[in-house]
């Protein structure tokens, strides 16, 4: 057994850059590469694609990522763990084998399934967000349980060099290889808690190494065009040292690590995953060298008896329209345009939003501190039950060209189909995971 392993994270969301993962595998001396590519809503959208075509429903970038990585994974003896299977890990595994055959690179792929619990639900279960039955939210599309390390471990026990999953808790993608390599017990809550701290710090990839951190003049980050993604050297006792490939851009410091440690954390003493209820309150971060941070002190309590299930539902449509005003009294003209739209659409939309981009559109206020800007973009959004109704929003905004205030320009209109997400809890025993091994 190894005394220390190195795990890198080469993607922190579905649309992340491709080349940092290649860089990690080529030059990072990794044992494992993790690609975390599955947000809450991504899997519901993937489920819709699978319904239209049963051979689809995996991550849209799967082919490109695997094509760029596969030769380097094999040459450097790096195992890949990824949730790019999305709604269809088996089809993703088949696709990877197809790519491997085409590149004449023999590999073994293990697909982890069992997160799709749509058939286990009646729809009468209570949504955590609303306190009402799930079906009250709208027609249900998908239901995926967050599986834990126990679902990934049997795949790691095979000879597979690529392990592809659907919905699993993000930190479990990292905890599972630690448990596998070091023979940790999933019942050792403190050890799994420390593993979860490691996973949580890595799971958003570039967000640990200076991505989403920079504020020029205050928090400077060098060479962000070539941001390096992070890895962790983890010892058998759980001690972890984070780093990135020498020569890559970005910056890894105690400050970047603190921001990531608390990212999306509710109660820091109870960070709940399928593996453990982790406690981040005793975590200590220290800089052990340039672009090198150590993390210790993660602890935990016994894992919960239930799994969180993420449920996608049809939530209608959103129609949007935008138009710009600039120069003297730009805000005044935009506000006039907004009031015209309000008057014309308020009868037909119960949920209509008018934003002034450049002033109050993202914070919904400017705290009264800022002078009027030189240019303003009016943005209108309305919720609709049909695509035709949603289209009205953009049509009305576009019609401001000849019927609205002076100097409006650059009108754009959009229609989005909306997938909503609610969640519920499922007894752990109701979700059974499986591993399927394919060879190419």
């Amino acid at each position: 057994m190894k005394e220390r392993i190195r795990i890198g994270c080469g993607a922190g969301f579905s649309g992340d850059r491709l080349e940092p993962a290649v860089m990690l595998v080529q030059q990072g001396q990794l044992d494992y590469l993790v690609l975390e590519c599955l947000a809450e809503r991504t899997i519901a959208l993937a489920q819709k694609r699978k319904r239209q075509d049963p051979t689809k429903g995996y991550d849209p970038l799967l082919e490109r990522r695997i094509e760029s990585l596969l030769p380097h994974l094999l040459a450097n003896n790096v195992r890949l763990i990824t949730n790019m299977g999305a709604a269809n890990p088996l089809a993703a595994a088949e696709k990877i084998c197809g790519i491997a055959r085409r590149l004449n690179l023999p590999i073994t792929v293990a697909a982890v399934t069992g997160d799709d619990v749509f058939d286990q639900l009646s729809g009468d279960e209570t949504a955590l967000e609303t306190g009402k039955p799930l079906t009250d939210s709208g027609p249900l599309i998908s239901a995926n349980a967050y599986l834990g390390s126990d679902a990934i471990l049997p795949a790691l026990a095979t000879s597979a060099s690529i392990i592809i999953t659907g919905r699993v808790a993000d930190p479990s993608l990292f905890v599972s290889p630690l448990v596998h390599e070091f023979g940790w017990s999933l019942d050792e809550a403190d050890q799994i808690g420390q593993g979860t701290v490691i996973g949580h710090l890595l799971e958003c990839a570039g967000q640990l190494t200076g991505g989403y951190f920079a504020d020029p003049g205050r928090k400077n980050v060098p060479d962000m065009a070539h941001l390096g993604h992070p890895f962790a050297d983890v010892s058998r006792d759980g001690a972890a040292v984070f780093g990135k490939v020498a020569g890559t851009g970005g910056h890894l410091s105690v400050a970047t690590a603190k921001e990531q440690l608390l990212y999306e954390v509710m109660d820091p003493s109870r960070y709940i995953t399928p593996d453990v209820i982790a406690d981040f309150t005793q975590v200590r971060l220290t800089e052990s060298g340039p672009n090198q941070v150590s993390a210790s002190g993660g602890r935990g309590q016994t894992r919960p008896d239930t799994l969180k299930v993420s449920i996608g539902y049809e939530a209608g449509y959103i129609g949007e329209g935008e138009i710009s005003y600039a120069g003297s009294n730009a805000l005044g003209r935009a506000q006039l345009a907004g009031s015209i739209i309000q008057e014309r659409l308020q009868e037909r939309f119960t949920d209509l939003r008018i934003d002034y981009i450049g002033s109050t559109s993202v914070h919904r206020t400017n705290f009264g501190n800022y002078p009027d800007p030189y240019e303003i973009r009016l943005r209108v959004a309305g919720k609709a039950t049909t695509a035709q109704q949603a289209a009205l929003v953009g049509e009305e905004v576009e019609a401001l060209y000849t019927n609205g205030p002076a100097g409006g320009g650059g009108a754009r209109k959009y229609i989005h189909e909306v997938v909503g997400i609610v969640s519920t809890l499922l007894p752990r025993l109701k979700a059974t995971s499986h591993v399927t091994v394919l060879h190419a």
Binding site: L262, D267, V283, R364
Partner: protein
Amino acid sequence: MKRKLYDLAHSRAGDKGNTLTLSLIPYRAEDYELLRTLVTADVVKNHMRDIIAGDVIRYELPNLPALQFVCQQALTGGVTTSLTMDTHGKSLSYALLEMEIGD
């Protein structure tokens, strides 16, 4: 002397459904006590009253040191169905940092 939190600390926003999380991390560890004293959950709720409809809970992390604010009903319905531009509320870290403290 009034000072913006922006001058003392940094922050990252996160989202869980309709709940917004905001970290507040002092640049200098010695400013932690000042922030802990002045930036209470009530003060944050009042500063962001146009944004946060629900309660604000504050967690203290003296080891880092940092404060963590969990803000309920702050994302106009949540990532997936909100009509706002920034459905995740990712930009709201800088709304917190707009707060002025001191006299």
